[in-house]
Symmetry: C2
Subunit: 146 residues, 2 copies
Amino acid sequence: MSTVDPGEATKLWLLWKRAYEMVRAAVIADMTAASGLSEAELSVLVHLHESGGVLRQNALAAALGWDRTRLSHLLTRMEKRDYIARGKVANGVEVTLRPAGRRTIDASVPALSAATRRHLLDRLGPDGTNALKDIVERLLSSEDGR
Amino acid sequence: MSTVDPGEATKLWLLWKRAYEMVRAAVIADMTAASGLSEAELSVLVHLHESGGVLRQNALAAALGWDRTRLSHLLTRMEKRDYIARGKVANGVEVTLRPAGRRTIDASVPALSAATRRHLLDRLGPDGTNALKDIVERLLSSEDGR
DNA sequence: AGGGTGGTGTTGACATGTCAACAGTGGATC
DNA sequence: GATCCACTGTTGACATGTCAACACCACCCT
């Protein structure tokens, strides 16, 4: 037999991807319909908001687990739409949530909440939700190799 | 209070995303280093392979849960590299795994297996792995809204 | 002062994904 | 058999992400 069997590990990997992407697509569709925000933009706004509206660009990238470049490009786009502003600071750049951004996020968080509940929590049930929480924590706490 | 609290559901959503993307990045990095294949290309090859090397383009898109357009573009690229071939058939297009594709996949599946084990299974432990399996199945079986 | 050096952010070229419009094809239905 | 219709796939414009190279700056060191 010259061909390789994907094996258990790979199968779980593929299924996980499939499930994640399915839920993600559903949530994003709902959310986007309600706010016109892309997933990435929403993440930025949420994190900014949770941090009081101001963050070092650096810290933002870390909080999101993103690449510097990606964030830079996205912020450039968001700046043009006046969601955020950038200003030079000590050693780096400070990102500030602007009124338009705040308004948009206020409008879309409820939609996101509802979408998550509908597409994730309701499908999992209370015990499934707890199990997922557990799994996520385990994964995030083992963030060794970065 | 004019600002909105993200709430429980949203928090779980953000954490899940974070965990998924972290593991994904690690797995892909390992896998790409070993094979030069992108994640999407690998998915296509794996599914093709599991189906005996031939599939309707249509069925492939469904199996992957992808958009027609995306698959079309990707297949065009993969065709140029001779990983696959396309041929007209009854009502649609048939995709065939070519030797170069088969060779590449044979070379990268072991790497993928190892990467999944290292970054996912080992971090979760046996019980965590089972819990994840359970969750994934629950989500996939509720694939109503498509 | 004169150089390193590490950390931060930007830029431009390129790869990839998304969206909307289109083209072909194989039945239904009259 | 003509017309309509749903299904399948392609195309091109555009949005987004990735990569490598660069610029800037604070700090250290001598």
